[in-house]
């Protein structure tokens, strides 16, 4: 008993002494991140439908979403993640119905200044009133035009059908 375990320990450390090293020398070798890595967030503004699911899913109220309604469409004014409160739990990404939220393989989110910590994805001014009106007008016109076109198409279809009957 005596000394046997001590010698065995020494043989094990000797093996590891001459064995392979497993450290990843970080800045020189980049450790490949898996696909599901919870890193920096990616936000696709065009895909977002401003449903607010992510805001509701977040346990820590990290996400701020502000929208305005222009011509029956929601327009994102602000999409901000206060990353210092983020748990990186992934519930927001999971809840997104349009895959507008996702991850990037980047984990370097340090900032020197406190104010720079929140991740601002969208920060736009609300549209001025005239512009809004103009857009609404346009949308209305477009809608009317569409409606007219639809009606015309309908009428045409009906006509075609009646003609077909006649013919």
């Amino acid at each position: 008993m005596f000394g046997e375990g001590l010698i065995k320990g020494l043989t094990i450390t000797w093996k590891s002494l001459i064995g392979k090293k497993i450290t990843v020398l970080y800045p020189d070798e980049i450790y490949s991140l898996p696909d599901r890595f919870h890193g920096k967030f990616r936000f696709d503004k065009d895909a977002c439908i401003s449903c607010g699911m992510c805001v509701r899913a977040c346990p820590n109220k990290v996400i701020t979403l502000e929208t305005e309604k222009v011509a029956k469409k929601k327009r994102i004014l602000k999409y901000e993640m206060d990353i210092k409160y983020c748990l990186f739990c992934g519930l927001c990404v999971e809840s997104c119905p349009k895959d507008a939220l996702g991850y990037e393989k980047d984990f370097e989110m340090c900032q020197y200044k406190w104010e720079k910590l929140p991740m601002v994805f969208v920060d736009e001014e609300p549209l001025p009133a005239e512009e809004k009106e103009r857009l609404e007008e346009e949308a209305k016109k477009a809608a009317e035009a569409k409606k007219a076109a639809q009606e015309a198409a309908k009428a045409k279809a009906a006509e075609d059908a009646s003609q077909g009957k006649e013919g």
Binding site: T13, W14, S16, L17, I18, K21
Partner: protein
């Protein structure tokens, strides 16, 4: 090659004498030069040993060890020391300032003083004292006082506990250390270190006195507070023992002194048991001082290897091991050595 350093010293002495200096001044300046050379040697070795320790530790733990500063990380220790020098030395409010500052300044002294009598090769001892071994034992135990100074003056309970442990440990391991050497002294009949090496021409004492070597090695490791006997530092229980309150260069001094005293023990192992500068298997084409160096580093590596393998022993077990195992064993060793010597004498060998 063999006499490189002795020749150097000889020519320096001749040069000094040719300037017409009085003999006493020549002697003094020669001694000074030698001691400075030793100091540089120890400091360089301590620096290297810190690096080596970290490399060995790293390799054992699947890591590459320091590899950023300088080629292969060789300048890591230098950079660390530079950093530590630039740090503020924090003195605790309730500390005994004089002792607190004196301890790191003195901690290098005992190993340095021991090296005065250590022969680095044939005729390469700075002072070839005829009671060299006795001097080594006397001086080496001085560091107890310094550790106690550090532990007491910090006015920190962890430091105090660490200091108490150092004293208890060093005092109780001094005994087996001395007793284990006695066997060697009995065989050689001399306390002169160079003589002891020369008398190992026939057989190294590690073969003649294996038990004594084991006891000396264990007690030596305990003397220089290395794992598994690093109770004084006892990182996981006592934070850093007597060094808890030290910062900056004070800490660095303790750190380097640890390696210096480990070096002393390695040298002593090599000299007393591994045949010092004597070449094994008649390989005399390699100079003696290189052999010496190789043997020292072999022992040093063994100490490191053990440190990075074993857990720490508990304080009462340490005492028990020292007094109940090592001391009786070393006494038995002396007895057996004496008996065998007597028998040999009776047989007329």
């Amino acid at each position: 090659m063999e006499n490189l350093f002795t020749n150097l010293a000889g020519s320096l002495r001749a040069a000094l004498e040719s300037t017409g200096l009085p003999a006493i001044l020549t002697d003094t300046s020669m001694t000074m030069v030698k001691l400075t050379a030793i100091l540089v040697f120890i400091l360089l070795n301590a620096l290297w040993l810190v690096y080596m320790e970290r490399k060995v530790a790293g390799y054992i733990q699947f890591r590459p060890g320091p590899n950023r500063v300088g080629p292969k990380g060789l300048l890591q220790t230098t950079a660390d020391i530079g950093k530590l020098m630039s740090k503020e030395v924090v003195i605790p409010k309730q500390a005994d300032k004089v002792l607190f500052l004196l301890a790191p300044a003195l901690v290098f002294a005992p190993p340095l003083m021991v090296f005065a009598v250590v022969p680095f090769g044939e005729n390469m001892a700075a002072i070839d004292m005829n009671i060299g071994l006795f001097y080594f034992l006397a001086v080496a135990s001085l560091s107890t006082v310094i550790f106690w100074m550090a532990g007491w003056s910090s006015n920190n309970k962890y430091s105090l506990l660490g200091g108490m442990r150092v004293v208890a440990q060093m005092v109780s391991y001094e005994l087996p250390l001395v007793l284990s050497i006695l066997g060697v002294v009995m065989i050689t009949g001399t306390l002169n270190i160079s003589e002891i090496v020369r008398s190992q021409q026939g057989i190294w004492f590690i073969f003649a006195q294996p038990l004594a070597f084991l006891i000396f090695f264990i007690a030596g490791v305990a003397e220089c507070n290395r794992a598994p006997f690093d109770l004084a530092e006892g990182e996981s229980e006592l934070v850093a023992g007597p060094f808890t309150e030290y910062s900056g260069m004070g800490f660095a001094m303790f750190f380097l002194a640890e390696y210096a005293s480990a070096l002393v023990i390695s040298f002593m192992c090599a000299i007393l048991f591994l045949g010092g500068w004597l070449a094994p298997f008649g390989m005399t084409f390699i100079p003696g001082w290189i052999w010496m160096f190789l043997k020292v580093y072999l022992v040093m590596f063994l100490i490191m290897w053990i440190r990075w393998t074993y857990p720490r022993i508990r304080v009462d077990q340490l005492m028990g091991f020292g007094w109940k195992v090592l001391v009786p064993l070393s006494l038995a060793n002396i007895f057996v050595t004496g008996l065998v010597m007597k028998i040999f004498k009776m047989l007329g060998w």
